[in-house]
Subunit: 236 residues, 2 copies
């Protein structure tokens, strides 16, 4: 009886090894595993995309307005949408409040007249607590005020996400709580809060399907709504 059991179990082991081997192969083989292991070891390091984008920002000349954030900022071509303004897109896909804090000098060094910031949704996706997010956000605002006091800062609300379209788990209450506190933070700092949330939300606190493909990012018409909202502020 043990003989049969041993044989079936060994066969199962071979199958499982094959699955793991194939999965590693799909990912790029042994070099992938090495990269993965070394990435885990130096946990504080940023990924290659972050570093590449940052090295592009370092070459940037002076800007009037900087869009600072994560993929929601990164995906769009702001300088094309507002050709009359000298805009810098400093969005980095997957970035977080601590990522922005780390690279903030590349923004404040340019002494822009305006900074439009949207950051935090990846913190929530990564499981960072809303208190820690708010703490980081407060540090960002303090550092901007200290380093470039004449810059007008526009704190943009977090956007809703759509849980049917994305498997990335975000707590709706956390988004609402953060937006509430970002509004307070803006008011306490003498900066402007921009409520984009209510332009994109449906009746169930979800990102309206009309404005998204993947449940987190905006589609083309969605960016049109965002840009129109910014145009109204500029006009005011």
């Amino acid at each position: 009886m043990y003989r049969k059991l041993a044989i079936s179990s060994i066969v199962l082991n071979l199958i499982l090894f094959a699955i793991i081997g194939y999965a590693i192969h799909l990912k790029g083989g042994i070099p992938y595993v090495m990269d993965y292991v070394s990435a885990k070891v130096s946990d504080n390091e940023f990924d290659d995309y972050y570093k590449t984008r940052l090295s592009i920002f370092k070459e940037s000349e002076e800007k009037d307005a900087i869009f600072l954030g994560d993929s929601l900022t990164d995906y769009n071509e702001w300088a094309e949408s507002f050709p009359e303004v000298n805009i810098g897109n400093q969005g980095i896909g997957d970035d977080t409040t601590s990522g922005v804090l780390y690279r903030l000098k590349e923004t404040t060094n340019l002494k822009p007249s305006k900074i439009f910031i949207m950051i935090g949704i990846n913190d929530l996706i990564n499981g960072v607590s809303r208190d820690d997010i708010l703490k980081n956000y407060t540090s960002i605002i303090e550092e901007i005020k200290k380093d470039t006091p004449n810059t007008e800062v526009y704190i943009q609300s977090l956007l809703p996400t759509n849980s049917d379209l994305t498997y990335k788990d975000v707590n709706k209450e956390d988004i609402l709580w953060l937006n509430d506190n970002l509004r307070k933070l803006a008011s306490e700092s003498g900066y402007t809060y921009i409520d984009l949330y209510s332009l994109f939300v449906d009746g169930n606190d979800e990102l309206n399907e009309k404005w998204t493909i993947d449940g987190i990012h905006l589609n083309g018409p969605g960016y049109g709504v965002w840009e129109e909202a910014l145009g109204r502020i500029r006009g005011a």
Copy 2:
């Protein structure tokens, strides 16, 4: 003896199951597996980033110059670098020659005076043969000539990659062969070939470490070199 073997083997079974389970958990759990399976089923579909970027391009107004390509085009902020030109960045990370072919109407519809194209490295990474890449490229060029005959097309060479810095396997010979044939294609179509390859290559047919972080993409100074090369063309 079989008893011991059976027990050790079953323990190993459990460990391997745990590894696979943990790997799936890291990736986002069961929804990830479902997405992965459904992605494999509908192989012809483009990913969400492609669809999102395409929906942004669809909102685009007229452009003088369009930069058409993959992540190498996408990562940079071309409109910021050449503020005096009305530029459209139509780069989509991970895109291929067939991806460009599929979305080419969004480029030609805008009737730009110039198109700067760089595409093909992801085809090579994905294992598409160089003959098929050249075939797709030829179709791209034919379609542009048919749909917007007054547009000047700049066919940019593929860049070298650095095999020490990336685990993505690219055959150096294929890059050289393609560049050779892209030069011929440009000349046969009456378009301009731009050799960027030799600006970035080191003595061993590798992307010089000076210009890259991850072995495939350019860093900030690297984009400076590319932009300078384009500036020379414009000046000519």
